[in-house]
Amino acid sequence: MCAQPVTNTKEVKWQKILYERQPFPDNYVDRRFLEELRKNIHARKYQYWAVVFESSVVIQQLCSVCVFVVIWWYMDEGLLAPHWLFGAGLASSLIGYVLFDLIDGGEGRRKSGQTRWADLKSALVFITFTYGFSPVLKTLTESVSTDTIYAMSVFMLLGHLIFFDYGANAAIVSSTLSLNMAIFASVCLASRLPRSLHAFIMVTFAIQIFALWPMLQKKLKACTPRSYVGVTLMFAFSALGGLLSISAVGAILFALLLVSISCLCPFYLIRLQLFKENIHGPWDEAEIKEDLSRFLS
Amino acid sequence: MEDERSFSDICGGRLALQRRYYSPSCREFCLSCPRLSLRSLTAVTCTVWLAAYGLFSLCENSMILSAAIFITLLGLLGYLHFVKIDQETLLIIDSLGIQMTSSYASGKESTTFIEMGKVKDIVINEAIYMQKVIYYLCILLKDPVEPHGISQVVPVFQSAKPRLDCLIEVYRSCQEILAQQKATSTNP
């Protein structure tokens, strides 16, 4: 097939098909081949402030972890009485609960079909189980070294931050795993506290800050973006303040981290878009665009 | 008629092949492996005893020394009686069968006789052995159920492992007898 006479090639035009025998070698392509080259089809243009606004979810989660650790430190040092924390937590939970329904006028509740009785039941289950298990939690890690516990908690909190559902559509995201890791870390840390009441209140607080607070945030972000920004700023400043009362260096580092995530990273992302060079063409593997699910059933 | 030739086995050791032609229909091939060398025997014995002496100086228990002597003796006996094969004989008798005998160093003989009716053919085969490819002679047995199938492959000279030149020698003689057998059995 390769040794075809030259006259033939002039007459026969090459076609990009396989179902006919053509007088060309198998790897032959002609001049028109690169005409179909496309660049950066899927590239998106980002607005700087929009990106900064979206990054606030990360800020919020970092601040949650920070606040949790700070509160735990206060409890461990005995600077914060558990009753105060419990009272504050209860109050903020109630406020949050009311807000949760007020923001969208109870529309979300009607959609999901969640009754208040179910909420009460969940709350009761939390409280009872945590209270019942708190003596066990107290003695659970007695014989394990404190450093081991710290290391485990750090890994678990890191895992919580990594697997958290920030709204990205990726395989690694698993909100269940993320929440479980946070609870595991809180149980580990709570078992280091001096008394079982402390442990109980610490675990309750962990549920509030890791499970309930993100739900409220999500709703705030969806309904009133303006107030959401305010809440985020307030939350970040309170976390920074709490950290400052423990360690100035830590607070500065944390502030730098927050600033870099909210301001520098978006800027860098937009700059890097300029260097994007994605080429697409007929050599790409086939992609099925049509929705084929109707054939499956 | 009897003659003796020397070949080498796959590791380069010397083998002596004795051929005895009793009659046109009966031939015997006898492969003699090298005898147990004094050097290796001494080396093994010395190693065992030195190890035992080392243990003895550590534990100060004279049981170890006597145990070492017993182990050496029993090991030697077992080796001579069950492992070390001195001679392997292939006796092929027309219209009767093929007999393989291996004589151990202690004098024990183990014999297998295969009737000619069960023998399908004798072939030289290749096999992967450790890190090399070796040739071996083997007897193919007929499957009693299916006349063209092979039910079993019996390797010959399993312990001597001679090289191809020696195998070809034996193979040709065997094939002569098998050809006679086939010729007579097809037109009696």
Binding site: S122, V125, F126, F129, T130, F133, V136, L137, T139, L140, T141, E142, S143, V144, S145, S174, T176, L177, L179, N180, I183, F184, V187, C188, V203, I207, A211 | R20, Y22, S23, S25, C26, E28, L91, I93, D94, S95, L96, G97, Q99, T101, S110, T111, T112, F113, E115, G117, K118, T184, S185, P188
Partner: protein, 578 residues
């Protein structure tokens, strides 16, 4: 084709005569069975052969002539022998001739009839020992047993045909040297049967005795099968105690021995003999043990040592538990759980010790009666010993069960909570792990429990490990005893003895030896019996044992140990008996 003549070694020195034997045409081999001497009347020879043919259903005929030259000039005899070919027509006609003092024989085979060219074939002389070939039993049997009934007795091919011929023509060998028959034959002769009165009496008496004993045995088994023993506690005990198993097994053996049915084939006969030998050995060893035990008040000694040993074991266990309740090997265990478990087990040991002390006055009597059971056989005594060990280490078994149950609970809980931790669940319908969205409270409680179980696991695992090791020790001892019992039960002693004293009786095949050879003379081979190797004797004739086949492989055993499933020393009675 080479003609093979099988010639019995015992006829090599016989006087000249006729070769009597069978011609196997498909292998062109002549099996000489005997030599008929001069003088004879041809009609009588023919009558004798016809009779043998009828008895054995083997085509016995006169194959040729045998000429043994003792004196120099016997030309006339030679001519006479040639003439006999006309009287006994046979194709081909063999002429064997032995010179005086010569080791090399002359052997010719002539065809006289048309299609084959008249002339001589190549002849190969194969000597065989008639007695060994007659008595030996080829392994594996060349002819399946049901073929014997068929009309065609010449079915086996190859060398098995030779064996078959010799075995079937036993009628030919019945006459001995001193018989004054019409035809004088030379063949292998038995030394004569020692017909003592005692043997004859025993033979006569064995029938009724067997009948009686079989009746007794069926009575015993009927009592054993009666309904009282089928009730729950008794049947459960019967299936768990190895003594009962062993007794049942022995009963089965005795029934086989005393059954009045005649053994149909050699394999069954051998099995019966092996069973007898095994039972006899067992009882002999048991009686030995009995005499040892009941002499010089050894029972009392034994009883005196047994209780302190049990006490000692309990004390050691207490020490072990106290060690575990501390910080064993520097391991970090949960103190509270450790204390709870330790106290629980300590209380158990306390109970056990008091039980032992309650028992101690009766131990001597119990042992005395147990010792009596040795007269039923060593195996029964050993099984009893195994049961006693199981009873005396009951506390270890209990600990093991508690530990294993706790551990199993933890492992199962942890594995399912770990799935919950990752947001997955086990789909029982599809037998796979699916992802699942949990509620908030489910997640919370699951994780809480997961954490607690994870941190408590090392404590439970350590207790489980220690008690499993103890349990494995006991199981290993019991396993050794069972192995010994199994060995006595299943070792084919009679076959092994036969192999040792009469190697030719159990033949794996034949082997040939080339005898001295001279050019121009026929090739001479000596056929010998190749005895069955010992391992194959054991493999072929081992008696079916109690069914103590190892239930798990090592891998599955380890897996079961890891997942906390219980392991038992007593195995279920397997169904594949025999």
């Amino acid at each position: 084709m080479v003609l093979k003549a099988f010639f019995p070694t015992c006829c090599a020195s016989a006087d000249s005569g006729l070769l009597v034997g069978r011609w196997v045409p498909e292998q062109s081999c002549a099996v000489v069975l005997a030599v008929a001497h001069f003088p004879f009347i041809p009609i009588q020879v023919k009558q004798l052969l016809a009779q043998v043919r009828q008895d054995s259903q083997v085509g016995v005929a006169v194959l040729g002539t045998w000429c043994h030259r003792r004196q120099e000039p016997e030309e006339s005899l030679g001519h006479f022998l040639e003439g006999l070919g006309a009287v006994f027509p046979h194709e081909p006609w063999l002429r064997l001739c032995r010179e005086r003092g010569g080791t090399f024989w002359r052997c010719e085979a002539t065809h006289r009839q048309a299609p084959c060219p008249p002339g001589e074939d190549q002849v190969m002389l194969i000597f065989y020992d008639q007695r060994q070939v007659l008595l030996s039993q080829l392994h594996p049997p060349a002819v399946p047993p049901y073929r014997h009934v068929g009309a065609d007795p010449t079915s086996p091919g190859g060398l098995a045909a030779v064996f078959h011929t010799v075995a079937r023509c036993e009628a030919l060998f019945r006459s001995d040297r001193f018989d004054e028959g019409p035809v004088r034959l030379s063949h292998w002769q038995s030394e004569g049967v020692e017909a003592s009165i005692l043997a004859e009496l025993a033979k006569r008496a064995s029938g009724p005795i067997c009948l009686l004993l079989a009746g007794l045995l069926s009575l015993v088994s009927a009592v054993g099968a009666c309904r009282v023993f089928k009730l729950w506690p008794l049947s459960f005990l019967g299936s768990k105690l190895s003594t009962c198993e062993q007794l049942r097994h022995r009963l089965e053996h005795l029934r086989l021995i005393f059954s009045t049915k005649k053994a149909e084939n050699p394999a069954q006969l051998m099995r019966k003999a092996n069973t007898v030998a095994s039972v006899l050995l067992d009882v002999a060893l048991g009686l030995l043990l009995l005499s040892w035990l009941h002499g010089r008040s050894r029972i009392v000694h034994l009883a005196d040592t047994l209780i302190p040993v049990a006490d000692h074991v309990a004390e050691e266990l207490q020490h072990l538990l106290q060690w575990l309740m501390g910080a064993p090997a520097g391991l970090k265990m949960n103190r509270a759980l450790d204390q709870v478990l330790g106290r629980f087990f300590l209380y158990h040991i306390h109970l056990w010790i008091s039980y032992i002390h309650l028992m101690s006055p009766f131990v001597e009597h119990i042992l005395w009666h147990v010792g009596l059971s040795a007269c039923l056989g060593l195996t029964v005594a050993l099984s009893l010993l195994s049961d006693i060990i199981a009873l005396l280490t009951f506390h270890i078994y209990c600990f093991y069960v508690y530990g294993a149950r706790l551990y199993r609970l933890k492992i199962h809980g942890l594995s399912s909570l770990w799935r919950l931790f990752r947001g997955k669940k086990w789909n029982a319908l599809r037998r796979r792990v699916d992802s699942c969205s949990y509620d908030l409270d489910q997640l919370f409680i699951g994780t809480l429990l997961f954490t607690i179980l994870l941190f408590l696991l090392p404590t439970t695992a350590l207790y489980y490990l220690v008690f499993t090791l103890l349990r494995l020790l006991v199981v290993a001892v019991q396993g050794l005893i069972h192995l010994l019992v199994d060995l006595i039960n299943s070792l084919p002693l009679y076959s092994l003895g036969l192999r040792l004293c009469r190697p030719y009786r159990l033949a794996a095949g034949v082997k040939f030896r080339v005898l001295e050879h001279e050019a121009g003379r026929p090739l001479r081979l000596l056929m010998q019996i190749n005895p069955l190797p010992y391992c194959r004797v054991v493999h072929t004739y081992r008696l079916p044992s109690c069914g103590c086949h190892p239930q798990h492989s090592w891998g599955s055993l380890c897996r079961r140990l890891f997942s906390g499933e219980l392991i038992y020393p007593w195995r279920q009675r397997s169904d594949k008996q025999d």
